[in-house]
Subunit: 327 residues, 4 copies
């Protein structure tokens, strides 16, 4: 169990960075929905590298190939399966991580968990590459939600602590062979009130469970979040009022969620993304083979900041979580 999400819509993600293919199965989509393939590709392109000079220039096509679940481009009720072929498989570039785990990566924890049988190549199943099939699933579900007037939109809030010129920190880090983290904010609009279940299946619980599936995410907060912890009730409570026949709140500190259930106000949350652990700077680590401390220099070119590419992934994860609760 691990790479499967959802109670009513089951998403199962598979693949390793350098396996034959990566992909996803989605069991529980409604029959009769026409997927806009061009729109889906535009969504996929948002997480592709090479979108800006700050992201890794390695070329990836990331065009999903649909194996089942469709007649033409229309869902038929059967589980949908889509794969993306890995063109760069079993490269020798990662030979040294087999012995020396990279700081900040899952190399060491996977090594312990899988008794040395883990696929180390490119980070294996823990690679950020696995967010591509997440985006296939999320991109389709975003379209289904949009047909009901529900939008899920995320954007970069700050990078390296800088919210005004977020990309400034990227250039400076890249120049040093270093990397930098950031914060993504996300807003869901059009969600009717009454979505979400109490206790463990509330919107917060389930969005958090999905969003932490994106590598490098280390925190999530809804509405005012951590800031609310410093407020008084009289400041943080959002008063209700009628706007026509509709109940709204005058402020939205609660981020559109009360008791795990949507209030009809926009759902808002923020996600903390740690700096990419792959850096060119030499780091200290260990050698399993020698049983002693070692020094590691990660080869290849690395993305100095994955925050922009993580933005559509946050949308995808949130869309999946919300849709699973709506069905």
């Amino acid at each position: 169990m691990s790479s499967t999400y959802g109670n009513k819509v089951k998403i199962s993600i598979f693949g390793q960075s350098h396996s034959e293919a990566i992909g996803v199965t989605i069991d529980g989509l409604p029959a009769g929905f026409a997927i806009d393939m061009a729109e889906l590709q535009r969504f996929m392109n948002r997480r592709a590298p090479g979108q800006s000079r700050y992201t890794t220039p390695r070329k990836e096509a990331d065009r999903p190939e649909f194996l089942s679940g469709l007649v033409g481009n229309v869902t038929c009720g059967a589980p949908l399966a889509a794969i993306i072929r890995n063109t760069n498989t079993r490269s020798g570039d990662y030979d040294n991580i087999r012995d020396i785990p990279r700081p900040g990566h899952a190399d060491f924890t996977a090594h312990v968990k899988y008794n040395g049988y883990e696929d180390v190549s490119g980070g294996g199943h823990f690679s950020g590459r696995l967010t591509a099939p997440l985006c296939v699933a999320g991109g389709i579900i975003k379209q289904i939600l949009a047909a009901d007037g529900i939008t899920v939109e995320a954007s970069v809030a700050e990078i390296g602590g800088n919210a005004e010129e977020p990309f400034a920190a990227v250039e400076s880090a890249a120049a040093r062979g270093d990397s930098v983290g950031g914060i993504i904010s996300c807003t869901i609009t059009g969600l009717p009130p009454g979505i979400g279940d109490p206790m463990f299946d509330g919107l917060e619980n389930r969005i958090a469970q999905a969003v932490f599936g994106i590598p490098a995410v280390k925190g999530i907060e809804f509405g005012r979040g951590f800031e609310a912890a410093g407020l008084c009730g009289s400041e943080n409570n959002d008063e209700f009022y009628y706007d026509g026949g509709q109940v709204k709140t005058r402020t939205n500190n609660h981020g559109g969620i009360l008791g795990g259930i949507s209030s009809g106000m926009p759902v808002t949350f923020r996600v903390a993304v740690k700096p990419t652990p792959s850096i060119s700077i030499e780091q200290r680590s260990i050698s399993y083979a020698k049983g002693e401390d070692a020094v590691l220099k990660v080869k290849g070119r690395h993305d100095p900041c994955i925050v922009p590419r993580a933005v559509p992934c946050v949308e995808a994860a949130a869309a999946i979580a919300v849709y699973d609760l709506m069905k």
Copy 2:
């Protein structure tokens, strides 16, 4: 679906603030574990009101009555069920919230979700009172973990933004009939490396899903969390070294979790708790019956700060999440 948690150990919580009883069933405990009932009661007492002058003085016994799953105090493999009788049932104190939803509470969202059939009394199933059965389950599981050398310990990190004298803010808020939020930090020690599954069933995903089950929680961050978003990779990466035969990291910015899997370092996380929405100060809201805006004054005495009482609840939720992944 909602108040059930766990893949391998199924926790099912039931009850409303003023129903006959609240309780929990736990399906999947190991047979042959002797529960230390005195220790469990001490744990329960930590969330009881009246522990300090800052918490609500309403007297509650909160002594779990065990209905099944035990022979004496030893688990027998069958599902364990425990209930706590509510002594204060169906009070008339809450008549006005049937019509006027309290800001910051789940009154309105429950009203929409359950079409007006929700139990409004004392907040119904959304009451903080439901954390009592959570603590019964968590308290037992903490003992099982402790027998394996794993401890789960939380404490108040700050209240009202004040980390040095956290309780100062409570007195001032209480005097104004207001309330105040805070931050709880939690540390899990003794967890062996290799616990947790990739993607959606990692430690972060599953602890977050459980902890957001505590009312008033609005954010969670692991390790350096949101702070890491402002760091460079070279600052945030934790370098490995051998300490005797054991692999450790020189720093613990990753909070003991890499790729969703425990590294063997202490698991650390922080939880944002919003200020108690119940305040004595008059607030604006709406009247369903009149279909117009209304003014609400919440009656009764209220806890000006639930943060201290939420501390054992965080431990309970985290213990349940970790144990479910360990089985």
Copy 3:
């Protein structure tokens, strides 16, 4: 995991034959449904002993006490919990089964599974007594289905191989201190076409999973079942026709299910119930303590045929399975 059923409606059953209480939690009932308590009690009475001279005369009240999930007798959306107190707890009657497992019972398998910590008293969690909370859940759900025009009705088809005078075999077995098994047939009417999911969540899969939860059930067949295995396709296929605007089949060998999905024809199935393993006749077994073969004489009065009492249990299990797929 074990005593929990359902994807959309979660049923969690707890208790042992002689624990303080047995009970059930139901998470996922619709809000606003008024339970007819008298009707529920009549349903419960159908599985109670003492209904006929053929069933065990031990007196049990089996009146569920509702702890949560209701306001009055109306569901409020929160998980419903109901318990039945055991009046006959921790009796000494079962001391010998602690050492000598009863043939045909779960004594031995529970002993291995729970390392000797199982509750042996009255069969513990494996007792037929646990079908009482199953009937509480099933009885409520039968009412919800009935409100939609769906009925679930089972009856005794044969006992001891005798379908014409099924009760004749019971008297004869009872006189010898022996017991006898039988077959129950069940029909679900009013189920609209299109209910059930393909492959592993079809009506057959899910009804079977629920019905095998009743102790002593050893077989299930849908429609013509095992008989169909001896037929030709031209005999077994059910031809479609229009009856007014409605599609029907001229015969119902398929038992109302094609591809796991309801066809709109009555769902029909039959359940094989083995003879009650408790008999007064001396049987050979083993002694754990002595590590050698032993002889067992089961004490007390026993039900020579549980088939009539299992009839409402089959209805309950089927109702739960169908409702979970309909939500």
Copy 4:
């Protein structure tokens, strides 16, 4: 939800008869298991057509292509995905079933469930072809079980009611353009006592849930099954004895399962398979388009008896169910 099975090992099956590919993902396999690919192919071949003159001569390769989860042929802990390309896609042979549902098939029920958007080609997701990926998953898991000394073996017990010369009935049916059903018996040996959970997750419940996932299965019975319903307790109870240090039963009417839990005796069960619904004989049905009764002649060559090809599928389903309970 539908084509996903398992609590600890998640099997997700996808594909339609004529989609680009069919396949399976398996999440939860142990890392470090070397799959014997030749053995797996031999297992796959057992369900392939053309094995005997009684099965459909249509040529299918059914060689799984592994996309992920392996390094070489060794599992790496990441989800395994395997696909089989469909060479015969989107054929026009099935145009008439779009309008006229075939008796005994899921055409009509799928039509209702998916509002006319179902993939009718070759039966879509309801085709027996989907048992190929089931056999990929089951074939791998059979190898894992075999490494622990557990074997799962099924065989044809009878066809068309004939147990002595089961294949006689096939020839006669084939000559008439008709088909015939049969019974498969299955035995699991080497399963240690104590496997399976009480109530809803017992071996019977979970094997039944898996086996009914094979199209055309209409009944299942464990041990003496329906026959036991005609016996007395003194005949049906299996007495325990010590065979060396091991506890055995003198007979095995219980089919190796008591209270849902394995007893250490061989697990035995029988499965009823209805006659293939595809026959060449003209049948009455309906036309959706005309809204009136119609006559259907199913084109193409059809398998007069799928029972032999269903044998490995029963093994696969049982292996998956048992393994999920063992983990």
